[in-house]
């Protein structure tokens, strides 16, 4: 009796182990990709646009035969902008949904938490938005890639714009987490390198991410009387910020204003004419900046399907899906995370913002931001246009691999 019981328990165990050990993929099952974006709170619109970009790419790929004959399928999770939530979501996507790869991340704080555990999950991650240089720098690893530009690239470009304006005394308003602080740090260092005479004020303002009232911070910065202000506030916060700054006369002062991620179409369409003319707006991707076939097709298809122009977040997510298609085909496997990650190393692909390459050595795509001044309204798209548009060569504004501190 006793031994019989033990026997059944053992065989049940063996069966259970056996079941969980067999790969659950049949050849005709879809290949899943797992996305982690902010889907709630003040930046939820960014997650919405990213999802639209992913849906568009997946439908295009599935309509033209899929990946290795299999359909692509999306599983998306809300990071809520918190590292712990995103890590839990990543574990669910990898172990429960058995995705082939992860993409997304909207927050530098989330990236700093999730990137170090990618080697445990053994699946590739393509960051499409989060910009902390650490993700492809001091925290880099074999599984982490970034298709969007990072703070270091963006600030190198913006420092050259800032130097051109002739403004000498600079300060910043940015969200009180990694992104805001690192934007200021990298901007200051890059600007000092071009022009050692500039003064970086101690009167900086770092409101909490998701803060509703920016009035004290705006007043504080105006009281410091700077010549130039670097503003790295983003998302719903940026919409609130610009409205409140308008009311306080912030933009009527004689100051150079640079928004580090201001030309996000999510923000521009919410603000409309309230975005003041003449301020510098940077973005990872401006939909009118590229005259290649991919971009023409992407912008037309996106507008046709969603009725609005694509934002940089939509473009990054769209391109990342195509990067996975190429990498999975190159690796010849949708299950082996090591092979897919290795296939991404040094891989190039044609994206809407040109031919991009994940650099060997730090896995950062060498891409530059698009920077311009806020111009007249584009009546068709309902947002301000960018004038005096500049494109930056990714090769020139990226740190060298040695400078990133990444050792792969």
């Amino acid at each position: 009796m006793k031994s019989f019981k033990r026997g059944t328990l053992l065989s049940a165990l063996v069966m259970a182990v056996g079941i969980s050990a067999t790969p659950s993929w049949a050849a005709d099952e879809p290949i899943r990709l797992g996305a982690i974006h902010i889907l709630s709170g003040s930046a939820a619109n960014y997650g919405k646009f990213a999802r639209q970009g992913i849906d568009l790419a997946i439908d295009e790929i599935n309509d033209s035969g899929g990946v290795m004959g299999r359909d692509l399928e999306l599983v998306i999770e809300d990071s809520q902008g918190k590292a712990s939530t995103a890590i839990q979501a990543a574990r669910k996507l990898v172990y429960q949904d058995q995705v082939s790869g992860l993409l997304g991340l909207d927050s530098s704080g989330v990236a700093q938490g999730l990137v170090p555990i990618m080697p445990e999950l053994k699946k590739p991650l393509i960051i499409t938005h989060a910009a902390t240089p650490d993700a492809t720098g001091s925290l880099c690893n074999a599984y982490t890639y970034r298709i969007s530009n990072n703070v270091a690239q963006n600030m190198n470009a913006l420092a050259s714009v800032a130097a051109e304006t002739g403004a000498k005394r600079w300060t910043t308003i940015g969200p009180d987490y990694a992104f805001g602080h690192q934007s200021w740090e990298y901007f200051g260092n890059a600007l000092k390198k071009i022009n050692p005479d500039v003064e970086l004020l101690k009167d900086t303002a770092f409101p909490r991410f998701g803060a509703e009232d920016f009035t004290p911070f705006i007043n504080g910065v105006m009281a410091a009387k700077p010549d130039g202000v670097l503003i790295s506030v983003w998302g719903g916060d940026l919409v609130n910020f610009v409205r409140q700054a308008n009311n306080l006369g912030f933009f009527e002062k004689d100051m150079q204003i640079i928004f580090t991620v201001g030309a996000a179409t999510e923000v521009l369409s919410a603000l409309g004419e309230q975005m003041p003319e003449g301020v510098w707006l940077s973005t990872r991707y401006w939909y009118k900046a590229f005259d290649n076939e991919q971009n023409k097709h992407f912008v037309a298809a996106y507008k046709d399907r969603y009725g609005v122009p694509p934002s940089y977040n939509a473009e990054g997510a769209y391109a990342a899906v195509y990067a996975y298609k190429k990498a999975i085909e190159k690796a010849g496997s949708a299950d082996d995370g090591d092979k897919i990650a290795a296939a991404l190393d040094g891989m190039s692909l044609d994206a809407p913002n040109g031919t991009i390459t994940f650099r060997k050595g730090d896995h950062q795509a060498l891409v530059g931001p698009n920077v311009g001044r806020a111009g007249a309204m584009d009546e068709e798209d309902g947002i301000r246009d960018l004038e005096d548009l500049r494109l930056f060569d990714g090769e020139k504004i990226s740190r060298s691999v040695a400078e990133t501190g990444c050792k792969l």
């Binding site: 809300d78 590292a83 574990r91 704080g109 170090p116 987490y177």
Partner: protein
């Protein structure tokens, strides 16, 4: 007979927990780890609430400081985990001693408000002292090395970490249970029922309440210390009042009258959260409805109501 059946059920559940990694999908190991840690957190809270009758809204402060202690020791000094956990217990208990010293003199809503205020003070420090706590990003990027005590454990493996958590939580809970059963624990329960009478017996009620608060803080610190290597981040949200509310909800869900109530509450809370959030993002709405119904119709919690009904039927 009744006790024998309960004991048997308990042993089967425990055996099931030990064997879990061999028969569930990988994902549920993470869920189980979280349930155990949050269960310990809620049980440490229940020593203060269910036993001593003090409703604290600042319990996350001790959980959070335990979490930061382990995360920062792992990041800066790479201590073996077991020593980090001991430090977490010490920090949790010390902070509870200080906050408790200032709070236990007050009763009911005043006590609740004071603990809430102190809890949010600790949160603000963690959130704003960027040079030490890394502000709202929290402490991340640490690696979990060896366990210590010469045990060759690969803590990076989720199944191994789950077993480590299981052993520590079971040992800590056994200790907590014995504390509740001891004459000290009896006095705590007497304080809940009638503090004046205990005081008339010549006992220093305030000292007992402070002792309960400090012990609860130490165990919460341990739970926090286990959480940091699991989540791979110690963030200010762990100190926020909404985290303080979780053990309150879990204790009420499971039942404050039984020692295992908070663990049952933790399991229900986290499983519901996992299942409902995969259907809708409005999980808090569902939780609110469940809680309202619980408080209206099952004041003794899921475990409490079941055991009461079962014992009634046996009689």
């Amino acid at each position: 007979m009744k006790n024998a059946i309960l004991m048997a059920v308990f042993v089967v559940v425990l055996a099931g927990l030990v064997l879990l990694p061999w028969f569930t999908p990988y994902f549920y190991i993470f869920i189980a780890t979280e349930i155990l840690i949050m269960g310990l957190f809620a049980a440490s809270f229940n020593l203060i609430f269910g036993y001593t009758g003090m409703l604290s809204f600042g319990h996350a402060a001790f959980f959070g400081i335990g979490s930061y202690a382990t995360a920062m020791l792992l990041l800066h000094l790479q201590w073996p985990l077991v020593y980090c956990l001991i430090a977490s217990v010490v920090f949790g208990a010390l902070l509870a001693l200080v906050i408790g010293f200032l709070s236990v003199r007050l009763n009911e809503v005043y006590f609740a408000m004071l603990t809430l205020a102190f809890g949010m003070m600790v949160f603000s420090i963690a959130h704003q002292w960027r040079s030490v706590t890394n502000g709202s990003d929290g402490i991340a990027g640490f690696t979990v090395g060896e366990f210590g005590l010469g045990l060759p454990l690969t803590l990076g493996n989720p199944a191994v970490y789950y077993h480590v958590v299981l052993v520590i939580v079971v040992l800590a809970s056994a200790l907590l249970y014995l504390i509740g059963r001891s004459s000290f624990g009896m006095i705590l329960q007497a304080i809940r029922q009638n503090a004046e009478r205990v005081s008339f017996c010549g006992l220093n009620v305030r000292a007992y309440r402070l002792a309960a608060f400090t012990i609860g803080g130490g165990f919460a610190g341990l739970a926090g210390g286990l959480m940091a290597p699991f989540l791979r981040v110690a963030s200010p949200e762990m100190l926020h009042w909404s985290t303080s509310a979780e053990p309150v909800l879990m204790s009420i869900l499971g039942g404050t009258g039984y020692f295992l109530g908070p663990f049952v509450g933790s399991a229900i809370f986290i499983l519901l959260e996992t299942w409902i959030t995969s259907i809708t993002h409005a999980w808090m709405l569902v939780l609110g409805i469940v809680l309202a119904l619980m408080v209206m119709f099952f004041r003794r919690g899921v475990l409490g109501t079941f055991l009461d009904w079962w014992q009634e039927r046996q009689r």
